[in-house]
Symmetry: C2
Subunit: 427 residues, 2 copies
């Protein structure tokens, strides 16, 4: 008997899912012994459904899917945490399995969603919520389970990686890189979720929750974006043997989970350093497996649809064989989240400073006051008229000291202007 | 109730499995809801078991494991296709689930083993047979199943990758690189399985079988090793923008499966080009997911044990929840294997040729006779007294023509000596 699918959301990824089913349905029957049939499609406009040849399955009301007793699996591809949350919770409480690509929902209401699935005895799968088509949630929940995971670090936002790559390789400004990303369809008209690091924060919350068996929500994640990064920073990084990436980072520490998103200097020899353009990659360290990395397309219709349909087929395989959910919520531990201010590392800072005697001395005395030991200081790159770019690299320093020093330097009269660029160095 | 494990083989990887269980058994109970207990250990000498603190579980007779009605899962880590095959088949026919890291067994007797498991209604898992700790078989059987896989290419032999990296980076000879690999414990006293490409051939047979849903055995794989590669070749490759890797390659083509192992020139920009030393990586292209890559440690106790125990825990999870095997043999199609002679690509060749007039002309006429169009010819590097290294790069040519030309050139009187170095170019 065919497993019946209801699809809510017919944008880029939804369209990809329809295309996969149209192309491979008979392959799935032959290879996996499952027959998966698209039985209803819901979105805000019927044209998208018609464009993919499934106009006859269209409804504008998602209740036609969540209330349909014949539907076994609901795919939620609306995104966001309002209507999507309602669709997912109603589908689960109606006893339907749910597959979603919704990172924001899982990173903010993950516990509620997992609990609802468990209460209903159905599956909730969200492999497409992180890394587009890259298999990462599957390996963390299966192949790597014999390990204690020590670190998960990733380039998980294609938009900002595209922009940083453009800036580093072609020397274009932040503004131009953003404009090009928007023109190429990689960035939205309002790019804030990407460039402010919020998209990456949701994804690392999900990965950290699975990797460390302990719930991490989006609000636990310290997130800074790339809006203060300039080509001067990328050039300086290159001269020091680093590249700058917007990294989503989660480390297990004796004090708890260190989880954050920020521009990061990575040694050019690191496996993540060569991941360029819209590609994503997630680097995982386990106590027995050592270093592993998972690389692929982080966005795009096909890649995300591959992950969604992989989940759908996995659930369909279980339904066909009469298997109850095998893996439920994996957050069995309760680890604390390390406050970002408790961290210690090396920092790169660039200030736009006044070009006058005494500036260096007054800045130096502030660093000394807060015990921030400076490894190097260099004046470099173009700065607005009458100012200079001052680039500092610290020895290992405490985050709270660095921040206090920066705040005090920014408050000095006639010394620096604008927000400094702050990049953390990952060793 | 604890799931009881019988371990056959207590070498490097077996020791790693014992260590994982000792360290993480209570974690597995808490995180996965499974209790896994090592109940018997078999090997040729009890000292290995004692060294890992499980001397009290030792037996020298594997029948004490395959005949023990309390044992649920047998781990086979002997390797090879003789005793290991007996252990695996006896365990399966006794109704035990089997986890193995045995690439040779799966690549030669895979069908027999899969059939025996299916007949007994038990699971056979072999995630550690390819790529050490890298999750690759799991993703191919789960996360990526919505795709038609087009290509699987990998650096799957750590020994040869270590040697080629040494030769390229430090300019050491093949012989010295091999000696260093042996001294470091990366190569065996008899290195032929590694340097002749047979280890890689077994691994790509397994990967291709899963990726293309069609049985590929080791004897289907054309395999050439790295024994004719010199630093001259690596230098020439670098000058042309390539690196040389021993690649295991499997492509889906309209004519069938193109599967082979040989030294390969890869563009320096390819994701696999920067995989160095003993690391492994497998590059997978699917029709919807696009390019993906899986990277990690291809050998070593911890990495391989991570994969073995990942499989053990997956099976244990199924047993604890009363779930029958979910994924059996995936070879549901019967695709032909493309004969290597039918392929067309670009070739790099290096001959040790006599330094006398007429040599170039006679070689050129042979290439012309077989329709092998030459893109470039250059004399380079040191050669034995009285000879020169002649490096040719062809345009796209047919494998059978290139081979015929090489055979005829090698048979020319007073022209070339020794075996030429032949490297295929992967675009």
């Amino acid at each position: 008997m065919a497993i019946k699918i209801g699809l809510v959301g017919t944008g880029t990824v939804g369209g990809g899912c329809i295309d996969i089913l149209a192309k491979h349905r008979t392959d799935f029957q032959r290879h996996l012994g499952v027959d998966v049939e698209l039985s209803r499609v819901c979105s805000l406009n019927s044209a998208e459904a018609e464009a993919h040849g499934v106009g006859h399955l269209f409804t504008a009301d998602f209740h036609d899917i969540t209330n349909d007793p014949d539907i076994d699996i609901v795919i939620e591809l609306i995104g966001g945490t309002t209507v999507a949350r309602t669709v997912v919770l109603e589908a689960l409480s109606a006893g339907k399995n749910v597959v979603t690509a919704n990172k924001a929902l899982m990173a903010t209401h993950g516990e509620e969603v997992m609990d609802a699935a468990e209460a209903a005895g159905v599956e909730i799968a969200f492999g497409a919520s992180v890394g587009g088509g890259i298999p990462i949630i599957g390996p963390l929940k299966h192949s790597l389970i014999a390990n204690q995971i020590e670190s998960v670090m990733g380039i998980v936002n294609g938009t900002t990686n595209y922009m940083l790559t453009k800036m580093a390789e072609e020397g274009v400004s932040y503004e131009q890189a953003l404009a090009e990303a928007q023109a190429a369809g990689f960035a939205e008209a309002d790019p804030s979720a990407d460039v402010d690091g919020l998209d990456a924060a949701a994804k690392i919350a999900i990965l950290a929750s699975i990797a460390f068996n302990s719930r991490v929500t989006m609000e636990d994640v310290y997130a800074r974006g790339i809006t203060t990064i300039s080509t001067t920073d990328l050039d300086a990084a290159r001269d020091m043997g680093y590249v700058v990436k917007l990294l989503a980072i989660a480390h297990r520490t004796p004090q708890g989970i260190d989880v954050r998103v920020h521009p990061t200097m990575l040694s050019v020899g690191h496996q993540l350093a060569t991941v360029n353009g819209v590609f994503n990659a997630i680097y995982v360290v386990g106590d027995f497996v050592g270093e592993t990395m998972f690389f692929g397309e982080g966005a795009g219709a096909g890649a995300a649809a591959s992950a969604v349909m992989g989940d759908v087929l996995e659930v369909a395989r279980h339904l066909t064989q009469g298997v109850a959910p095998i893996v439920g919520c994996t957050c069995t531990d309760k680890l604390p989240i390390c406050p970002i201010t408790s961290l210690s590392m090396k920092y790169y800072m660039r200030f736009t400073a006044a070009d006058r005697p005494g500036v260096l001395a007054s800045m130096s005395s502030v660093f000394a006051k807060y015990d921030v030991s400076i490894h190097s200081m260099i004046q470099r790159g173009a700065a607005p008229d009458g100012t200079v770019n001052l680039v500092y690299v610290t020895h290992v320093a405490r985050e709270q000291d660095v921040r206090a020093a920066i705040d005090e330097i920014c408050a000095l009269p006639n010394t620096v202007s604008g927000a400094p660029s702050l990049i953390r160095v990952e060793e």
